[in-house]
Symmetry: C2
Subunit: 699 residues, 2 copies
């Protein structure tokens, strides 16, 4: 690690400060207004990106941090270092920034102090508030964060509705002046929907200015604080922080010394730079886990899609009313559709072993699924009692013999107080029965009632689970948590999250539009890997039941391409084994594609339109390319100059058939082989809603 | 156990039912109104006590249980049995009642069913609602309970304010037409105070009719349901259930089969019968703990009163801002007042051993007290880390050698989510270090925020702790919990509770008026033992600091009498050892008095005026008598006919001095010895705020 620190102490009472990014493209200015209000603005390549914007807080039962400040001290420093992620898109990450630290104090009697830290990277800015230990500020409650991000014009924006509980929305695209988050708000799906105003959206918010600048507002290192929504003024394009509240309407309970998450602004004139930025990760703390040798990427299949398409059930019986305390599970009448049986799990283990998967997820193995959903029931699961038809010991023995891990599933039904009471026993059970990874789930309304998925209390819960899992050498993959903000750097056992609208919605709702996966890299994926569950080959749900109109909104080839465009070290092949058996030639790409990488090149990117990414496997010479489009067909020519210069590769190209179309003919695909080198170019043709996946295997 | 069951099945569509108590004094009638609303009334000795009163519920998101019912079936039965409490006021309890079970069904399409069970005892009535398993009612939310207790006139009532969080109030006495619960609502004490309307009071509500009937409304077996307040109509004296809500304003989340607690109405023309009633206990389930041999009564002293009078502190240092994660406790500067030091604890152990006490409570032994109070801080205590000056191992060794138990203290600061996360480790720590009893504490606002001390979630918490403690063979004594409702029958390790305004208030607030302890037996004590912490000899706080006006509002002799008038198997001698050393003659009574009894006789009782009780020690021939008065002096003559007929006793009489007065001269006492038999009478003279305590030791 190389670190250069340049400390410049500047005397008191200065009014303005500026700081440049290492490449001098970003210039951030900070000053106190006449009233003593902290204010900043941001320019990129001499173009204004953030107009003068205020910073501060309203506190409960004490004066606001809003004005009356004076600058006590200013420090600036530079850091330029590299570090190696445990798992990742690249093997090494450069952390290069200029830092400005402004020490503020109130002029008045209380002289309360805050510190503002700005870090300027080549890709953008992160800033945070710190509350140092001090006599007149010890324990306090944030009732509102006043941070503004005042935008320069009527940008085009890609957003999902502001919410306290869920991120599982499709994006809406509109100009800021026409923001209407309610368009994306769909009821009748799996979460409560909070009726926030139409002009409140979640971060990350992706924007494109009329001048072609890409601007993204988000946060990093969300710890002990609620998640950030933004309120957009549709007339003057100012925006302001809206934090997720608790039962009392309070936002955060803090105790000095305390820090907020980083507020981040990514800016570039090249969309690809935004996607390759590691700024969010760099703003997170290094790994707290010293020995990470037990942390492994996982490509997995699972007893899961069957429940979504309706051929299997999580629940063992259909009684609809059970109790952990009193139900005699053996006496229940099985419904005949239970997925997590010993026999079915063995079938999945066999398939995983045959095709080289690391793990098999088994959902619905434990008692309680008869009335888990929508009841706001507290004692819903115990995480240690299998259904009568699931033999834990037998299956672990079988899986071990086959060299496959069974992945634990802890659906909490959002009854988090219940999970916290039982988590020690649950992790002990995992250790005793050889499980090394768990998919957790938070479907429904949170218990403790009055708390929300994205509030401070739950944010602390997710971190607590990650820490406790690490103590037990367990890897985690939470579903329905708050969206990630780079904490997988600090907790590398936190392999992935859901925290967005995944592929499952295509099975039983209006689904995800073809553009969905071209926007996610600019929004949700900035925070960390997503367990999107790609790889659905039986695209149309009338395959399972005549008349069903649900379908995946991509071609089959695009499902393959997602294994490259979506980075996750915990990546599922989500379809049923029997479906893969009918398309083993296409399935070969899923078998071949790594889930951990030495290098990544963003070749093409435009939010809502297309993404093309090439990645080099971890400790491998082979490259893999994925290219996807939205609802429009697309032709593009890709220079293969990312390949190693003096090598020949066998390129296997999995592409849309000539007549492919996500809606009319999604399963039409062609597989083509070629020998190529870094000097070659490839012409790609993508069908509407289509994609292409290529493996480049060194000859 | 003797049980007589008489089942009478009655055909459908009957409109009215009556049931008598075994002594035929109480007659309860039940009928459906013209609208099909369940309705009851109650007569005692042919006098109306409860006028026609409705029963039912409002449910969330589904029709109310309010009307449209039809009677499907009626069962009646009688029970007459006896059982032996593990610890108690008497060695054997008779459970003798007539039961009426009414099966109701809605007439309309849903045909939802409820069962009403009425039990008539010689002392009063208990009734509860049951929700049996059924197709159209599985999981449901009670948004309001509609139970009425419509009173017959403008009774005199003794009450404390309705509240969600605390019972630590003095009583107000007024006629129902003048009920003003706000009079008793004192701010600036240790709890939040909810601004409920002036006509909402907590149960138990004690009343006296103009005809001299004593009527008490309360509940028994409060499990999985919120506590009961009553709304009083000051004009027509109807009253209605008001349940404690949660963060969402909901009252109870239930799942069939479910039961409410029993709603109880005690009625007698003799106040003494009300105090000797075991109806509340009889309405609770028998012990769930099979082997109770480890459950022992405890008379104890503790490092505790010093903190209340200000000579000691719970906290080790005065920094005011600490963290379980980051504070280096050894580096903190001690404040020099920390009570829970190894040395001080040894001093208390020595005193306990010398005077025959079972245990020494040590509060403030564990880290976190620097900012435990009023901060709504979640990670406040860990329950396993001692302060640097408290040597757990050394002290347990020392205590064991001296034959004394150290009593654990788990103050949660009402951060219950934190306690639940750590309770397994905390109980393990207790087992490993030889602790067999714990005083728990819930001072402050509950976390999860939005929950209340007396709501369903917390009610479940207290029971969960009792159950978990039993698994660890640990006895519990919760402070600031919901008030007890007889659950110490079901969980006999639940020795006592605070749940009312205890002696500590006299140290630092306007205190408890002299009448306080004469009302508590008619209200709070009906639910179970209270850890009131009597035995304060240094009555006036100016003993500790000149100018302090706080004082205990009794004479010293009355402090002794409280050991008999207040039943608790977990009873403290609350004052400082050095204070007892100056009054060892009076202290002898505290040393002699048992805390577990074979028999109890309520000799005199009038709420707000006086109480005289005699009790016979467990497995002993000795009797003890306590008599207390309110602010008025009192003379009474007590026939000693409760003593065994053919025995001589040495009576040691601890009485107020001739000039004693709670305010002017509280420490004036006299000790007199006499030989007496059951034929004798004793004339007692009690000073204003005074009392008398007598031990009758068989010669």
């Amino acid at each position: 690690m190389k670190k250069i620190l340049l400390l410049i102490f500047v005397t008191q009472f200065m009014v303005g400060q500026t700081i440049n990014s290492p490449n001098n493209k970003h210039v951030l200015s900070f000053w106190l207004s006449d009233e003593g209000t902290p204010t900043y603005d941001l320019k990129f390549a001499k173009t204004s990106v953030i107009l003068p914007s205020k910073m501060g807080f309203k506190l409960k039962d004490q004066p606001s941090f809003e004005k009356g400040f004076t600058i006590v001290k200013v420090e600036s420093s530079k850091v330029n270092e590299t570090w190696k992620p445990v798992l990742g898109e690249v093997s090494e990450i450069r952390n290069n920034y200029s830092e400005l630290k402004i020490y503020l104090s109130e002029k008045k009697e209380k002289e309360r102090k805050i510190i503002l830290t700005f870090r300027l990277f080549d890709e953008g800015v992160g800033f945070r508030y710190e509350f140092p230990e001090q006599d007149n500020l010890k324990h306090f409650v944030v009732s509102d964060e006043l941070t503004e991000f005042n935008l320069t014009g009527d940008h085009k924006a890609y957003y999902i509705p502001g919410d306290f509980d869920t991120n599982e929305y499709s994006h809406t695209t509109s100009n800021l002046s026409e923001v209407n988050a309610l368009v994306g708000r769909r009821t009748g799906e799996i979460f409560p929907n909070w009726n926030l105003a139409e002009n409140i959206v979640q971060t990350p918010v992706m924007m494109k200015t009329k001048n072609g600048l890409y601007v993204n507002i988000f946060e990093a290192a969300l710890i002990n604080y609620p998640a950030l929504n933004l309120e957009i003024n549709k007339k003057n394009f100012s925006t302001k922080a809206i934090l997720v509240p608790d039962a009392e309407g309070n936002k955060a309970y803090l105790q000095t010394p305390a820090k907020t998450p980083w507020r981040t602004i990514l800016v570039s004139d090249d969309a690809r730079e935004l996607l390759s930025s590691k700024m969010i990760l760099n703003l997170n703390e290094p790994s707290k886990i010293e020995n990470t040798s037990w942390i492994k990427p996982m490509k997995y299949i699972g007893i899961w899609w069957g429940m979504h398409v309706g051929t299997m059930s999580w629940n063992y019986s259909d009684v609809g009313n059970v109790s952990l305390k009193t139900t005699d599970w053996k006496s229940l009448k099985p419904n005949g559709k239970h997925g997590a049986t010993t026999e079915n799990t063995k079938r999945y283990i066999d398939f995983a072993a045959k095709h080289g998967f690391d793990g098999v997820l088994v959902e619905g193995w434990n008692v309680g699924w008869e009335d888990w959903f929508g009841k706001w029931k507290e004692d819903v699961f115990d995480f240690v009692t299998p259904y009568p038809d699931f033999d834990v010991k037998e299956l672990q023995k079988y899986a071990k013999e086959k060299g496959v891990e069974i992945i634990m599933h802890h659906e909490t039904s959002a009854s988090v107080s219940n999970y916290e009471r039982r988590i020690d026993a649950a992790f002990k059970f995992m250790n005793e029965n050889g499980y090394n990874a768990v998919k957790t789930g938070y479907v429904g309304r949170i218990i403790p009632r009055g708390e929300y998925h994205d509030g401070q209390w739950m944010v602390n819960h997710y971190v607590r689970v990650a820490e406790k899992a690490a103590e037990h050498k367990i890897m985690i993959n939470p579903h329905e948590p708050v969206r990630p903000t780079g904490l997988h750097r600090t907790y590398p056992n936190w392999l992935a999250n859901e925290a967005a609208r995944g592929n499952e919605f295509n099975a039983w709702s209006e689904g995800n539009p073809p553009e969905h996966e071209t926007i996610l890299p600019f929004t949700r994926f900035l925070g960390g890997p997503m367990d999107y569950t790609p790889g659905i080959f039986e695209i149309k749900m009338d395959f399972y039941e005549k008349g069903r109109t649900n379908q995946v909104h991509t071609t089959l080839a695009k499902q393959l391409a997602l294994y490259v465009t979506i980075y996750s070290p915990f990546q599922m092949a989500a379809d049923l084994p029997e479906n893969y058996n009918r398309y083993l030639d296409a399935f070969q790409f899923i078998k071949d594609v790594p889930v951990d990488w030495d290098d990544t090149k963003i070749l093409e990117a435009e939010p809502g339109d297309f993404i093309t990414i090439a990645r080099k496997g971890k400790n491998s010479e082979n490259w893999f390319l994925g290219s996807i489009t939205d609802e429009n067909k697309r032709e593009t020519t890709i220079a293969l100059n990312f390949l190693d210069v003096d090598k020949k590769y066998k390129a296997t190209i999995y592409k849309d058939g000539a007549d492919a179309d996500w809606e009319k003919n999604p399963k039409s695909y062609l597989i083509e082989e070629k020998t190529v080198s870094s000097k070659d170019k490839l012409k790609l043709k993508l069908a509407p809603g289509g994609g292409v996946a290529i493996s480049f295997i060194v000859n």
